[in-house]
């Protein structure tokens, strides 16, 4: 089956990103396809490379990036949500005259259309949030 994943909450504050990660990993292990993981609302905060969780805790951003690298996942941070919350890749930072960018490896910024398109192209959209 082909899944699209939507993550609506930030890391650590809420379990949504953890649950989405475990679901994604389990689905891949069972041979399913993950069409895209789309981070919306505070979910875009999963994609900052500046997060430094305690060393004895899981690193949510890093493990999403690693999963993406291993399986060629498409991890998309919503551009509108990211702009509001100070999440920017190099292009976005330049466009808005910011002095830094902070998107983690494996993630990229794109539009809300990517969420709708993923829902159209997938068999199921799984929404993880509050």
């Amino acid at each position: 089956m082909k899944f699209a994943i939507q993550v609506n909450e930030g890391p650590y504050q809420h379990q949504a990103s953890d649950s989405a990660y475990h679901f994604t990993k389990a689905a891949l292990a069972k041979g399913h396809e993950i069409y895209r993981v789309f981070f919306y609302h505070d979910g875009v905060n999963n994609g900052t490379r500046l997060a430094t969780p305690p060393q004895d805790d899981r690193n949510i951003t890093k493990r999403w990036g690693e999963l993406a690298e291993t399986h060629g996942l498409d991890l998309v941070l919503c551009v509108a949500a990211a702009q509001r919350r100070g999440i920017a890749d190099r292009d976005e930072a330049k466009r808005h005259g910011k002095d830094a960018d902070n998107v983690a490896p494996g993630f990229h910024i794109s539009g809300l259309g990517q969420l709708v398109e993923a829902a159209i192209q997938s068999d199921r959209l799984m929404v993880f949030g509050d």
């Binding site: 609302h41 509108a80 539009g111 809300l112 829902a119 929404v127």
Partner: protein, 141 residues
């Protein structure tokens, strides 16, 4: 009504009109939260507006505190947030015309369809459940 409404964003391009979309799915956006207090309602509306460009079969449901999103006379001056409620009136321009409101949620809050800024179809919980059952994609906010 409150302050001058913000201008609605431009309607979607009709770039697909010649060929039509390859796949048409039934999309239901479920709004469960009050318009202010969290950003879910505003960002849900942004998805609906962007999604309209994809020419899908779209419905929007309002349940629980989500019915307050459509309440007439919202005045956000005190909380210094943008009153985005006029944008719901623009949904029709985007061919988003199926708006459902759960009757029980209205009644529990002392509201009727007359209190809402757009025409809606008021459904009781069972009927709304049946609408949900018919969908291909349900996005919950």
């Amino acid at each position: 009504m409150s302050k001058a409404p913000p201008p609605p964003p431009p309607p979607p391009d009709d770039f697909d009109d010649d060929e039509g979309p390859e796949i048409v799915k039934r999309f239901l956006y479920v709004n469960r939260r009050a318009p202010y207090g969290s950003i879910y309602a505003l960002e849900a509306l942004e998805v609906v507006l962007i999604g309209a460009a994809f020419d899908q079969d779209v419905s929007v449901a309002f349940i629980g505190d989500g019915v307050y999103q459509l309440k007439k006379g919202q005045d956000t001056a005190g909380v210094e947030m943008k009153n985005f409620s006029p944008t719901y009136r623009a949904l029709e321009m985007y061919d988003v015309e199926k708006l459902y409101v759960e009757r029980e949620s209205l009644v529990a809050r002392g509201l009727t369809a007359e209190d809402l800024i757009v025409p809606v179809e008021v459904l009781d919980s069972d009927a709304l459940g049946a609408v949900m059952e018919q969908q291909d994609v349900v996005l919950s906010f």
